[in-house]
């Protein structure tokens, strides 16, 4: 009996000793680093797994790059604090995102969040972020309703669908001269808002709009739909003889619809949005089908501006792949946060101070000058149109210039 107690007791005592030792060491090191320089964590929340992971990764590495450059002093000079980067995966889904948000809120060193990336995920997580007064700057959530909820901590560096949808509609009616337009959405919260804004503007400009909802397919992991639905849908669009078809959704399903339409002999103009702005659209639809498709985005072409080339090459070195949709926006969002932190000075910065600071910050980024309206939307909203030519997606220019 005695021996057995000793046998249990000895390891427990050793473990306890080890714990105190570790605890002591931990405390000591923490206090020394605190004394000289505070450390803040900038977190990124977006899909890092699942079907839309590529979009999430495009942004993740941009945030990571911005943080490491700031620490090295290349972008903002010498800073009074150290920055840490933390990536949190929400799978792009509204069900997963609240728990991801909760873990970021619980992490006391997180001072601001870049993201969430998707509109649905943002909608689900933002009440939590708002309650914790933790600033979130999304590079890509474009659903208009997000800015109308009174979330003072919500910011985004892209124009919302109220800019993109009407921009597309203006292009279709004024530039392409379409009197009749067929619109299709994939039933996602992003696409539904976008297509409503499009339909409204197109009708206002005098066009007749026929609208249909075709849920994203399981094949594309975008909903409950079936690939076979596009045969019948293409037949209906073809028999409408509408000269323009606008698709609100993502590239994978758009490619399937485009193929079905062309195989059915439809020769009208295909139009889509930033969810389709991906080289995979061209590879999945095939060059001949994709050719001529016009795709819009509230984001600008990266390789165009000269200042971007260093960003692009650094990004590629870090990520192992080239910059993609929303990389530059994520980079700008991160740097806007860092600029705000810098402005707040040397004293220990609170989460609420960052929210307040973001409301007044003016920061010139790669894609635009970032300045937020009161509701968190970016001030000014330019929509750019792109076109698929010879298998490449090239920028045509801002809609307001194209329409003239």
């Amino acid at each position: 009996m005695k021996r057995s107690i000793a046998r249990i007791g000895a390891p427990v005592a050793v473990a306890a000793l080890a714990l105190t030792a570790m605890g002591g060491a931990g405390l000591a090191s923490a206090s020394t680093s605190h004394a000289s320089q505070p450390t803040y964590t900038i977190a990124y929340e977006g899909p890092l797994s699942g079907g839309n992971a590529q979009l999430g990764l495009n942004m993740k590495f941009a945030v990571q790059l911005a943080v490491s450059q700031a620490n090295a002093g290349t972008t903002f000079g010498k800073l009074a604090f150290k920055l840490k980067f933390l990536a949190a995966d929400d799978g792009g889904s509204a069900t997963q995102s609240p728990s991801t948000a909760q873990s970021l809120i619980g992490n006391k060193s997180v001072i601001a969040v870049v993201g969430p990336a998707f509109s649905g995920a943002t909608k689900a997580a933002e009440p939590l972020f708002h309650a914790a007064n933790l600033a979130t700057v999304s590079p890509s959530a474009t659903n208009p309703a997000l800015a109308t909820q009174g979330w003072s901590n919500f910011f985004r560096v892209v124009a919302d669908d109220n800019a993109q949808g009407p921009g597309d509609a203006t292009y279709a009616v004024k530039k392409l001269g379409a009197k009749k337009i067929y619109t299709v959405d994939d039933a996602s919260s992003y696409a539904v808002g976008l297509v409503q804004a499009f339909d409204q503007k197109a009708q206002q400009l005098g066009a007749t709009v026929t609208h249909q909802e075709a849920p994203g397919t399981t094949q594309c992991q975008a909903g409950t739909g079936n690939v076979q639905q596009y045969g019948a849908l293409a037949t209906q669009i073809q028999s409408s003889h509408d000269p323009v078809t606008f698709y609100a959704g993502y590239y994978c399903d758009f490619a399937l619809l485009a193929k079905a339409l062309r195989a059915d002999g439809y020769s009208g103009q295909l139009l889509s949005d930033d969810g389709s702005l991906d080289p995979h659209y061209v590879s999945e639809a095939g060059t001949s089908v994709a050719s001529g498709t016009v795709i819009s985005c509230a984001c600008t072409n990266l390789t165009k501006a000269k200042a971007d080339t260093t960003f692009s090459s650094k990004f590629k070195k870090l990520a192992g792949f080239a910059v993609g949709t929303y990389s530059a926006e994520a980079y700008d969002a991160s740097n806007t946060i860092i600029a705000t932190l810098k402005k707040l000075g040397t004293a220990s910065i609170k989460r609420s101070a960052v929210v307040k600071g973001l409301h007044s910050i003016v920061y010139t980024g790669l894609t635009k000058t970032v300045h937020f309206q009161k509701n968190g939307n970016i001030a000014g909203s330019t929509v750019y149109e792109y076109k698929v030519e010879n298998g490449n997606i090239v920028e045509l220019g801002p809609v307001n210039q194209l329409v003239g």
């Binding site: 249909q212 094949q219 739909g225 690939v227 639905q229 062309r262 195989a263």
Partner: protein
């Protein structure tokens, strides 16, 4: 009004969907016939066929589009390659996921769980190994309108699918009706115990049944992939629909599966003529429930042996 507009167009593209459903449905029906078991991993047999044909054609054709007779040859090769891939996976499934359970006289539910587990394993493995984006099977022919019936345009891919499917369906029907192997399948389906007493090697017959189902399902994976590309999630909905078709026609009944597949394809398409694409499944499954209320055993009843 909406029903008559585009009527023939919708029937034609519905038939195309239907042929794919029929090919997949046969895999469910054959296995159900011999084992009274729904092989819920059949969706991954379908997917494996798609990937097998992709890798073969990608290596042989690349980016050069073949023409004329070469096109026909490559399509045939795709069908065979897809079939072989599907058959290999179906054979393995039976060996790994079902036979050990059968040896231990496991309850039916265990088979179901084993099937679902195998399905999850296979499609996640495919996603991990082959990537999360669709892979495009090289273009084997230019798809477009070929001719029209009653004003409905018939595309190249419809013709290719219909011909390939018809050939395979007729062969399977004849094999089950006339060969020694078919006799074995029918015998096991009617009464496995008696069949084994009469000297039918049950294990071998079951293996062969999985292989036949795999051949058809894998070939369907290729034909489907020709249009939509191959991706690890490709099996889910088509296989669910094919299962529906098999039940609609009478599960365990070969001609019933074909009839169910074709009907389901057409009904789905005509259903959306008056509504929207998002109502497709509501219409299809509504009709399935109605049919089953009136004929609980499906349109053609359920005996594999007698109907074939």
């Amino acid at each position: 009004m909406c029903f008559t507009q585009n009527f023939w167009n919708l029937v034609v593209s519905g038939l195309y969907d239907g042929f794919l459903y029929a090919l997949i449905a046969l895999g469910y029906t054959l296995v159900y016939g011999v084992l009274q078991l729904i092989n819920f991993a059949h969706s991954e047999v379908f997917m494996s066929g798609g990937f097998a044909s992709y890798f073969i054609l990608h290596a042989l054709v690349g980016t050069n589009q073949p023409t004329g007779l070469a096109s026909v040859g490559y399509v045939a090769l795709g069908v065979l390659g897809g079939g072989a891939g599907g058959a290999a996976i179906a054979f393995l499934l039976e060996r790994v996921a079902y036979r050990p359970l059968r040896r231990r006289n496991a309850p039916r539910l265990a088979f179901l769980i084993s099937a679902i587990g195998a399905s999850y394993f296979l499609y996640n493995l495919a996603g991990k190994e082959f990537g999360r984006n669709a892979l495009e099977i090289p273009t084997l022919f230019t798809n477009g309108p070929v001719f029209s019936v009653f004003g409905a345009t018939v595309q190249t891919i419809y013709v290719v699918t219909a011909i390939a499917a018809l050939i395979m369906l007729v062969i399977v029907d004849r094999v089950v009706a006339m060969t020694r192997l078919g006799k074995g399948i029918r015998a096991v389906a009617q009464d496995a115990e008696t069949a084994s007493l009469m000297g039918v090697p049950i294990d071998r017959v079951i293996s062969q049944t999985f292989i036949i189902g795999g051949l058809l399902g894998g070939a369907a994976g290729f034909l489907f992939g020709l249009n939509a590309g191959v991706i690890f999630t490709m099996g889910f909905t088509p296989a669910l629909k094919a299962f529906t078709a098999a039940v609609l026609g009478g599960i365990g009944n070969i001609r019933g599966a074909v009839l169910g597949g074709l009907l389901l394809g057409i009904v789905e398409n005509l259903g959306v003529a008056c509504t929207q694409a998002s109502w497709r499944d509501v219409v299809a499954f509504g009709i399935l429930v109605l049919v089953l209320l009136i004929r609980p055993t499906g349109l053609l009843g359920e005996q594999l042996g007698r109907a074939a």
